[in-house]
Structures are given as C-alpha cells and as structure tokens.
C-alpha cells in the first residue's frame, strides 16, 4: 500500500487535530511526495469557499419574512407553558441535587416527628390561653414592633427607628 493512502485523509487537518505522531508523519510525507503536496495545495485553495458561497447566498436572500413566519408557527408561548417550565426547573434542580435534597428532606421529616412526639402529645402542658399570653404584639413608634414574650420584650426596630430617637 502506498503511504499516500494512509496519509491522504490527514491532508486538510487543522493544527492540533492530529495526534503528534500522525502530524509528524504527515509533515514528513508532504516533504517527499509531490502528489500529496499538490493535493494539499488544492485543498487549501478551496478551503473556506463552501462556507463563503453558502453564506453569500444566505446574505443575498431577503430574510424579512423569515422571523415572522417562524413566530407565527410557534405562536406565543403561553404563561401556563412558562409556569410549567418553572415547575420543571424546580424539579430538575431537585433531581440534580438529590444527594443534598433527599437527606435534607429525611432530616426534616425526622425533626417533625420528634417535635410532634415531644410537644404534640402528653408532653404539651400549656393551655391555649397560656400560650396566647406569652406573646403579645404591640406597635410602638414609627413601625417598630414589640413582642411581649414569656422571656421578656423583644423590640423589632423599624429601619428609621434604629437610632433610638
């Protein structure tokens, strides 16, 4: 078999596309084979002309109606479809992060179960009135809120009220 048969398909490759060994073999062959050198020169001349020709044809064509025709075919994307996309995005996000989401969900379920057991059964001693009395809310000043809790008052300062005036 002529070495050209093995080398010829490599002609026209771009830098870095061939393994180093093949690139060296190609270069060495081109130095000694006039036929393949001529072929490479021919390929080089026409390189890019296909793209040039097709893009020239595309640029010569009036594309004004194209986008309108496409938009007419796709119609308006309904808000319902958009919402579906959002929901799907959330599901996708959960699916992609299942290693975090599943343990977190399991932990939440366990905590909820423990909480129910500790405070939802016989251990709950506070009467509804007592619980209500432990938390009183009053408005103070310009938008600040005071929470009267069983542990003492907690003042939530409004943004304008943080200077204490």
């Amino acid at each position: 078999m002529k070495p050209c048969v093995r080398i010829a398909p490599m002609i026209g490759s771009r830098p870095g596309e061939l393994p180093a060994e093949d690139a060296r073999a190609l270069a060495a062959h081109l130095e000694t084979c006039a036929d393949c050198r001529a072929l490479a020169a021919s390929f080089e001349v026409t390189d890019g002309l296909v793209a040039e020709a097709l893009l020239a044809r595309a640029n010569a064509r009036d594309f004004a109606p194209f986008v309108d025709e496409v938009m007419a075919r796709v119609g308006h994307r309904s808000p319902r479809a958009a919402a579906r996309t959002d929901r799907r995005s959330l599901l996708d996000a959960l699916r992609e992060r299942w290693r975090i989401a599943v343990p977190a969900l399991a932990a939440a379920v366990v905590l909820a179960a423990v909480g129910t057991f500790m405070y939802g059964g016989e251990h709950v001693v506070a009467e509804p009135e007592q619980r209500l009395a432990s938390l009183e809310v009053e408005l103070s000043g310009e938008g600040s809120i005071v929470l009267q809790t069983s542990d003492g008052p907690v003042v939530l300062l409004a943004p304008d009220d943080d200077t204490g005036s």
């Binding site: 002529k2 021919s42 001349v45 026409t46 994307r77 996708d92």
Partner: protein, 234 residues
C-alpha cells in the same frame, strides 16, 4: 434625604463582558419564560447561518428555507429540554443538521452511497494540483475567489448527501474531527476519509471551471471501473 450621593460606576473588566453564549442563554431564558421577543432575537441572530447550513445539505433554496423554519420551530418546542450544557449555537446546529439530513433522506428516492475508505485509485490525479496551479494561492485574488465561490454551490450540489453534510459542517460551523464524529455518529477515521472524498469530489466538480483537463485514468484501472462507487461504507 441622605447627606451624600451614591455614585454607581459602570465598571467592567474585559472578562466581565458577556459572550455571545451568555447572551444566547439570557435570550433562551427569556424565551422559556414566554418572552416572544427573546426568541425572535435568537431567530434573527442565527437564521442566515442555519439557512446556509440547510442549503448546503438539501441543495434546494426553497427546501432550505422550510428546513430552517422547521429547525427554529423544533428549537422552540425543545427550549424546556435545553439544559445549557453546551452552547446554544451547538445545540441549534445539531438540530439543524438532523432536520436537514432527515429532509434529504425523505426527498431522496434512491441514491448510491460512496465508500469512505481511501484507496490508491482515489489518489489518481492527485498530483495535478488542480486548482492550485490554475488559480494560484494568492488570497488577494478576491474576484477570482468570488467567482469560484459562485461555482462552489453548484459543485457542492453534485456531491452525495453525506459528503455535502460533512463539508458544510466543517466549513460553516468549523467543527473539528472530534466534533464531526460526535455530530454524525461516526468514527474519527471515517470523518477524515469522508472529508477527503468530499474535497476530492469538489475538486473534480470544479475542474471544468478551472479549465483543467483531468488526466484520464488508465484503462482498466480502479478509477475507470469505479470501484470506489457503490460499496458499503464503514
């Protein structure tokens, strides 16, 4: 009122300037949320290039127009499935390639496939330097190149679909051997030999324009017998 004025300086380093890919993704996101203008912008951005790819593969201008529209319709339908793992352009042209090839295959009644394997017979006449000697390598000869480009489309149309496709993807999209192998689902070696055949056929189709007479193959040679025709590839 605040005693000072906050001044916002729009300062961006070069690295912060959004790339086309970033911009595409922003438009995709807008389109996914129902913003028709976002999708319209994507169509306008890519319509000519998609059309050019389609034209290269299907050969017919009107069919290429329809194919290009089908591509964008499919893209719109598939927006939810686009994960952004590749660039939008890559995804778009992958769809364009498939739609165009499907279209050709639907249209085609019967057409023999050519082999991709390179044989010694395929190298007959390789030394003629067909276009290099006739046209020269001077890139400044733009007029000649333009005239030649006008002939390229006709020459391209003479190639079998798989050769047109691989040339178009290589030249318009600039895909590498690896990317072509991935896009077309063939081995890298097949990509290389298929490209070789495609280029050789383009050269042959352009010979008439270049005014070079092809050296007649020797009587009884593989070329004359056409052994490179009608074989099963790969």
């Amino acid at each position: 009122m605040l005693p000072w004025r906050t001044t916002y300086v729009n300062f961006r380093s070069r690295q912060d300037v959004p790339t086309v890919e970033d911009d595409d993704l922003a438009l995709v996101q807008r389109a996914r949320l129902g913003d028709a203008e976002g999708f319209r912008a994507l169509v306008v951005r890519y319509q000519r290039k998609v059309y050019a790819v389609a034209l290269g593969i299907v050969k017919d201008a009107d069919l290429a127009w329809d194919v290009a529209q089908d591509v964008f319709v499919r893209v719109h339908r598939g927006l939810d499935g686009f994960k952004g793992e590749s660039a939008f352009g890559t995804w778009l042209f992958r769809i364009a390639t498939h739609v165009a090839i499907d279209s050709v295959r639907k249209e085609r009644i019967t057409q023999r496939d050519d082999v991709d394997e390179v044989r010694e017979a395929d190298l007959e006449g390789a030394g003629e330097g067909i276009l290099a000697t006739s046209l020269g390598n001077d890139p400044r000869e733009t007029l000649l190149r333009h005239e030649l480009a006008a002939k390229m489309e006709a020459a391209l149309a003479t190639l079998p679909e798989k050769h047109r496709t691989i040339l178009v993807l290589r030249e318009i999209e600039g895909l590498s051997y690896e990317e072509l192998a991935d896009r077309l689902g063939i081995h890298k070696g097949t990509v290389m030999s298929r490209l070789f055949h495609a280029r050789k056929k383009m050269q042959a189709a352009l010979r008439g324009y270049a005014g070079v007479r092809h050296r007649a193959p020797a009587a009884g040679s593989d070329v004359e017998r056409g052994t490179s025709e009608g074989k099963v590839e790969e």
